[in-house]
Symmetry: C2
Amino acid sequence: MLDFFFRPQSVAIVGASRNPEKLGHAVLSNIINSGFPGRVYPVNPKAQALMGLPCYPSVLEIPDPVELAIIVIPYPYVPAVVEQCGQKGVKGIVVISAGFREASLEGVEREREVMEIARRYGMRLIGPNCLGIIDTTTPFNGTFAAGMPPRGPMAFMSQSGALGTAVLDIAMAGRIGFSKFVSLGNKADVSEADLLEAWADDPDTRVILIYVEGLPDGQQFIEVARRVTQRKPVVAVKSGSTQAGARAVSSHTGSLAGSEAAYQAAFRQAGVLRAASMEALFDYALAFAHQPLLPGDRIAIVTNAGGPGILATDALERAGLRLAALTSETIAHLESLLPGAASTHNPVDVLGDALADRYEGALRAVLSDPGVDGLLVILTPQAMTEIEKTAQVVGELASAQQEKPVLGCFMGEHRIEAGVRILQQYGVPNYPFPERAAEAFRAMATYRRERMRPLPTLETFDDVDRGRVADLFARVRAEGRVTVGDAEARAVAQAYGLRVPQSALARNPDEAVEVADRIGYPVALKIASPDILHKTEIGGVKLNLQTPADVRDAFELLTYRAMRYVPDARLWGCQVQEMFLGGREVLVGMSRDPQFGPLVAFGLGGIYVETLKDVVFRLAPFTRQEALEMIREIRAYALLAGVRGEPRADHDAIVEVLLRVSQLVTDFPEIVEMDINPLIVFEEGRGAVAVDMRLVLEGRSEG
Amino acid sequence: MLDFFFRPQSVAIVGASRNPEKLGHAVLSNIINSGFPGRVYPVNPKAQALMGLPCYPSVLEIPDPVELAIIVIPYPYVPAVVEQCGQKGVKGIVVISAGFREASLEGVEREREVMEIARRYGMRLIGPNCLGIIDTTTPFNGTFAAGMPPRGPMAFMSQSGALGTAVLDIAMAGRIGFSKFVSLGNKADVSEADLLEAWADDPDTRVILIYVEGLPDGQQFIEVARRVTQRKPVVAVKSGSTQAGARAVSSHTGSLAGSEAAYQAAFRQAGVLRAASMEALFDYALAFAHQPLLPGDRIAIVTNAGGPGILATDALERAGLRLAALTSETIAHLESLLPGAASTHNPVDVLGDALADRYEGALRAVLSDPGVDGLLVILTPQAMTEIEKTAQVVGELASAQQEKPVLGCFMGEHRIEAGVRILQQYGVPNYPFPERAAEAFRAMATYRRERMRPLPTLETFDDVDRGRVADLFARVRAEGRVTVGDAEARAVAQAYGLRVPQSALARNPDEAVEVADRIGYPVALKIASPDILHKTEIGGVKLNLQTPADVRDAFELLTYRAMRYVPDARLWGCQVQEMFLGGREVLVGMSRDPQFGPLVAFGLGGIYVETLKDVVFRLAPFTRQEALEMIREIRAYALLAGVRGEPRADHDAIVEVLLRVSQLVTDFPEIVEMDINPLIVFEEGRGAVAVDMRLVLEGRSEG
């Protein structure tokens, strides 16, 4: 897929130039210097030949078919050239030129125009406003970057071209290598999801890396990434994740950064690993690119220095990994190999005077221990340390097996350089400090967990009454409202199978007592009036009424208050509502993210949400498994699991509410906000009741 | 202070050797090669001369005075040589040899013997089991490391010698430079606190760096560090901070890692900055070493790339810094300088085609903005970027003023190398990724805040009755107990000025009602018996009794239960206790850390402590300011500050309880554990009551 971008038979460079200061010169010379095996056609009306190749005044004059066109001309001429490309039968276009959506309102228009032409001809387009694309296998360097990165198993896509130049420069230093490199620019057409799809089966790519500022079609990204991450790891840096950063994104590219909560949920649900910095991105990528996947979370450390061994132990524990417990056989074997002062327990300390052979014995023993899933080899350059020879040993032992990843932490700089290069040749990534190696192991462990999860199978409940909700929303909209009233919200909840409190309208105290007798005490009374929206503010609610007398008094008190504080209000009476004793109050909420759609929130009610911000998010629709994870991920989960002898809250009931809400907000895209607060959850087997529900519909101009 | 270690007039190397495989050879040649200006005396009975210097059979044979001796001989001979050093009048000894406390039980004994000799002669000792010491100003390299690090304003001390070798190798690559380097080894004598004291006034040292695994004399460290951090920044990496790491520490050096909570409190109270890794340690150190202190927390970014600008913005916000809001003058000025597509707001984007002069204009404008406290300059190596020239501009502008720190983030590798070297020459540290620069700014901001705090002045309350508590503890111990009973604990609390609930013993229901009438309702009743420790377990407590009838019933019920479930118990009656309505439950606790002494905890009561681990610690004694910080640092602080219309809890009352507890546990080192749980805090001005208190005394063999 999208092969014409990466392995074109022929490429035209529109705007190729002999002036070395021009980008069009850099692109042409990069293509030629990269050793591109296809045909190359410089296009420039002012030149006859460029770099020894015949030059054409326009794409249309090229005598042969053109598969890919790279456009590097001032923006006003771009639409016309794209039109010519269409006529020529070009399949893919890379627009390097800037001056589009990122620049101005006219730029937005111009970008739209270009895309209209491209779509008309069925052409795919990368950019505009980008650095270009690279495929090191073909080889093909269609960028204006300074040179070609080394070949390697990482494919990288970047929304920022400038960041791409830094990344390519880092790659050229030799530590990282790319299969493909794409600067996505404005993403007028080809997006992250397209490239993920295209690279999923690329045999040259073992790990896909993304730098992204915003994902306009978030849902599509999730849908594709979910599948791709089952095949190979995808690691992403998302910038604009703080408020200040989000403002910087929108002033930079005009694209929305979107809500951080939605991105977090999206990456999580799609199995995309998130790196906190570009440095971490490459640290993770190195491990995935060259080492086998981590089969478990038990890591062994072999070191010639106690201090760094402790730092590594701390870092692994903080990263959520476990320090492997070596078997007694391994320990006995190590005891026979190592000097008395050595530590034969994990972290294994071969001591400062260890030569390569002592490392070798220890590494062999530890690697063959069935309780070890991954290995970290630490080396400090001490007086007698055989750095290169030890690197050789590590490399050989790592490559001799393909089950357990081995990461290196040779610490230092000049003295270890040659050793690190040897490790690299064997595909053993080296990290300058143990903490960074530990974070790479963390990424590997997370990927393993994610990949072990089956692709989501979504449940839908057949017992919902979709038509009833549709009718109700139609009625609300017909009345020009966006807020759904109390009784209406209750009806929606019921239509989707949620349990709500029993409730009935009473027109006078006698009726109220009748209703209360039927429902059972205690009950709550709420003033019922279409003109009083904020009942609590006028004291229009009385809770926990225990007796008929209480109910009677409350009815009269509420009526009095309503008449006194809202004299013109139409009074229908009081709503008598079932009350619940005990149970935990939780919250289920939803807001609609502009990029990802319905974002469902779960947390404990009250102060937990307000002061501790202890809320977890998932994008709907989600699976039963994901719903269960939401419950378990809140910090105060212990309160639901049952602490201090309190009963465990009914998890199944919460899961079911979450799934039904997920279905509701997926079925009705017009719901933009929704809260069930509180949802009272009883002990195991006793269910949950949606006590209060708030629902806001999209404010449509038609409505 | 300790000048004889760093600037000795003369030094003897005991164990100097001609064999290049021996450490004694490396030490001697390092001293000679470092250009040490003092006199050097190799000591080795088997040689006449070494490296052109006359060699002596023993220290005693050296004809001139010897100020410093470095000992690199097998451990069995060390005590005798130390004795000779004493006789010779040596002032300082560095024992490089291993085979002491870290090795075996005999090693512990040998270390003690060596220290006895050293103390007898008034000699100071570094090590044993270390790499040696370096002073680059003298210059003097008394280590067996591979070479001498560049000179620079960082002084580094390390408990791990092996880590030291890696650090020195990194330094030799040129990015960091040291004034002094000390491998502390087993710290038989000279400790971190000694070196802090010695380096506080060292004019060659602008920042002090520490790698530490354990601080046996934690209180002394805090006391010294508190003063030193007022003069210059101290940055520390503490390893063994996780459980697994702590185990690794103790198996490595036999030293206790100590509780992480205590270290965190200690570093915090001493103003020592904590780095999470060695990489971070040097990242911070670079900023402190070469740039002025950060005068505020408003950072400006100037970049030629949008993406990295956003990453930097995110990172600064996450680091708790603020993005400087540029004045309208600055913005107008930038608009006049920069192309239309540039961003003139912070982050200032000078665009990908910016040459050095455009950077210069923007940097000048931003640096002179009064709303900017610090500046981050980002550069990606794009097609036209003038890397070295821009570095020159940044360096010149940074050094032309000494008020605002400037940090660099030139991203890439080979292409930016020369630029980074130029930055370095100007003392502008470069960070390869914006996140790391942001963390360095965070460290600078933290240091500024810490340094602005006055040295702690401790308050003591004169109204406490120390004698009464002393008597009480004596009585408890005389009875062979370590746990202090209910009424006793209440007496202790009262003696130290804490309010406790009114309470009295009632021998029968009538007396109980009498007491309750006097105290006021509601009250609690607790069975009173010296034989019933766990009252709640037999149902021996009734709370919230509202009426005389309730009290009467409860008395009889509790008596019945006690007789039924603990038939042999002596029954004294029931304790009638005042109950409190409303208020927030908080917890004040204390445990005694083996290295740092009394560690006082504060948190909200109940589930917050148990499930959310929302607790803050300080070492006693602490100041009023620190007590207030404890309250504000808990995550659920909003609950005390007043949310949802609830009243603000009485902060002064909590502070006073914390300070009185601090005084109590400082006055009585025999208190090893203590809990006030709950302390009920009322609204502002209404105080707090220590409802329940638990106290455990040290279990002495004499008691």
